[in-house]
């Protein structure tokens, strides 16, 4: 079934399709329609739980409480809201709580702008006072807001790490045909608190380090199963372009217009930013002469990618076009590439 809907509404429908039963949130542009759509649905359906909390911090902790009871639950936020969400996310990370947080990026720092950026990458991947044991997807179209919301719930409950879906205001507000395919086997959720005393605070460094080590090992073990990417173009191309989310789709249109087969320009798109598909990236980097980064931030995704790139193998040139809090037009990409 196809519907002409916005990315925000698509995210809401994805949450319903994934079996979410509760949403806790605080209005913030450009994510608000997710909250609004859920509240309308909860008004009509007693099975659905909705609470518009006093702030994003409370939303994050209500969410932690709800998932502890084994109920698929989520929140949606943006910008300064994502900052406040780190409080609850940090607890979710420590206890491996399968929360889902939909982040529609807006310009920052601070209240910045209300519509668009790719500046919440490091905050969602590594925010909080921990090691970034989170799963982060980056969507680039309303269709992906639907598909990846379902994916986010699946990964959260399958691997038990807080999961974040990154979108932005442009795809949140943009309407397009979205295919609302129901997931075949939505994952089951279970009560995580039953019969347990759970703490977040340890008194001995050794004890906590052991606990943390287990979580890190679990994350590393799951990483190859979680990490996702897509590739456009030929392996024989001399150039590799890395871009994610909305920017990826602009880059792809630009390349298709000047190099339809991707003979000269291959595009590597990380779908998960955390865990980052680093091994795969290194495979595609083989024999490349030039690596390009396009990002609507001052290189946040690039920082993550560079930490993964094997620079003993890749000796090519790295070129960047970073436009913090600003989107790219197709012409911008072509102009940068052609120098």
């Amino acid at each position: 079934m196809k519907e002409f809907i916005s990315g925000n509404v698509a995210a809401f429908k994805g949450a319903i399709a994934a079996g979410a039963r509760a949403m806790f949130g605080y209005p913030i542009t450009p994510s608000t329609e997710i909250l609004q759509s859920w509240s309308e649905a909860a008004d009509k359906n007693d099975h659905l739980v909705f609470l518009q909390t006093e702030d994003e911090t409370a939303a994050g902790f209500c969410l932690n409480g709800a998932v502890l009871q084994g109920v698929k639950s989520f929140t949606a936020t943006a910008g300064p809201g994502t900052v406040l969400m780190q409080d609850g996310l940090s607890m979710a990370e420590n206890l491996r709580l399968p929360t889902v947080t939909i982040v529609m990026q807006r310009g920052g720092p601070s209240t910045g702008t209300v519509n668009y950026s790719q500046q919440e990458v490091l905050l969602t991947c590594f925010g909080g006072n921990g090691e970034g044991l989170r799963i982060v997807y980056s969507a680039g179209t309303p269709q992906e807001m639907y598909d990846f919301t379902i994916k986010a719930f699946d990964s959260a409950w399958r691997y038990r790490f807080p999961t974040i879906l990154l979108g932005d205001g442009y795809i949140g507000k943009q309407k397009s045909q979205v295919d609302l395919k129901a997931p075949l086997n939505p994952i089951k959720s279970v009560n995580l608190l039953s019969g347990k005393n759970i703490r977040n605070c340890y008194s001995s460094e050794d004890e906590f380090a052991d606990y943390l080590k287990q979580n890190i090992l679990a994350f590393e073990k799951a990483a190859p199963k979680i990490s996702e990417f897509s590739v456009f173009g030929k392996n024989s191309a001399e150039n590799l372009i890395i871009a994610h989310g909305s920017t990826y789709f602009t880059v792809r249109e630009a390349i298709e217009s000047i190099d339809p087969q991707g003979k000269h320009y291959q595009i590597f798109r990380p779908i998960t930013l955390r865990p980052f598909p680093g091994t795969d990236l290194n495979r595609y980097l083989k024999n490349k002469k030039r690596l390009w980064f396009f990002e609507s931030s001052y290189g946040q995704m690039q920082m993550i990618a560079k930490a993964e790139i094997d620079f003993t193998q890749f000796k090519g040139k790295v070129q960047t076009d970073f436009r913090p809090a600003k989107s790219f037009l197709i012409e911008d990409i072509i102009e940068t590439i052609r120098g």
């Binding site: 509760a22 409370a58 902790f61 209500c62 502890l68 639950s73 409080d87 607890m91 347990k196």
Partner: protein
């Protein structure tokens, strides 16, 4: 250990507990444990606790327990109660968590009449971090961040939690202040609070407590100092007052 005087709801393997000798938390938790055992609600209950001294209650009971951050046990149990309405959801915290960092959540839970129970231990200081000044510290009281006594100018008078919450709470909410000087009253009050929450309303109990470690008081002087505090924080049931008005 002699288990005879321990309530059934206690987790025996975690005793003796880790609270300081003479701490009011242990007195309060004993009453709570008795109430839970007498009402037979351990299985129905979820216990949310703050960080701070409250943390030490993380494995105190054989009750599903979750420890959150400072001031965040209320939103955690609100989330739990929303998706599991049959549970008895109780948030347990200190006065710093309730009246400073978590006040926004406390106010809104009361304002929404969320059917949870919030218990606040008020010992007029941030005890776990070494006895700093709290909103509840009264003018003139010496703490590690008010070495010459708290100045009301710029630091405020002692914060009256139940009075504040009473002013915005739903009129069906249960609000009370009790003291560890009268454990039996704590027990009766907890029973009323639980019953009020079970009937679908917000219940809030502040317990005036002693902190011998940070007050630097012996047993006798702890209770003497408690008397000073009791004179400043009236012990009463606020819901009754409202009915009378």
């Amino acid at each position: 250990m002699d288990y005879k005087t321990m309530p059934d709801s206690y987790k025996k393997s975690s005793k003796p507990h880790f609270f300081c000798p003479g701490c009011g938390h242990a007195i309060t938790l004993k009453q709570l444990g008795d109430v839970v055992s007498e009402l037979g609600i351990a299985k129905k209950m979820v216990f949310g606790i703050d960080i701070g001294c409250s943390l030490l209650a993380w494995d105190f009971f054989d009750i599903d327990t979750i420890q959150a951050h400072h001031g965040r046990s209320i939103p955690v149990v609100v989330g739990i109660k929303k998706v599991a309405p049959k549970k008895i959801a109780l948030a347990y915290m200190g006065d710093g968590g309730a009246y400073a960092i978590g006040l926004q959540s406390l106010i809104h839970a009361a304002y929404r009449n969320d059917p949870i129970i919030a218990i606040v231990i008020n010992n007029t200081n941030y005890a776990m971090t070494g006895g700093q000044m709290a909103p509840t510290t009264f003018p003139g009281e010496i703490t590690s961040t008010s070495a010459f006594g708290k100045r009301d100018q710029g630091f405020g008078n002692h914060f009256l939690g139940p009075e504040t919450i009473f002013s915005i709470a739903d009129k069906k909410a249960y609000i009370a202040r009790v003291s560890v000087s009268n454990p039996r009253n704590i027990k009766e009050t907890f029973k009323k609070a639980i019953s009020k929450a079970e009937s679908g309303n917000f219940a809030f109990v502040e317990v005036l407590s002693i902190c011998p470690t940070n007050w630097k008081t012996n047993a006798h002087n702890s209770f003497e100092f408690l008397k000073t505090i009791e004179a400043k924080f009236p012990l009463k049931e606020f819901s009754k007052t409202r009915e009378a008005v």
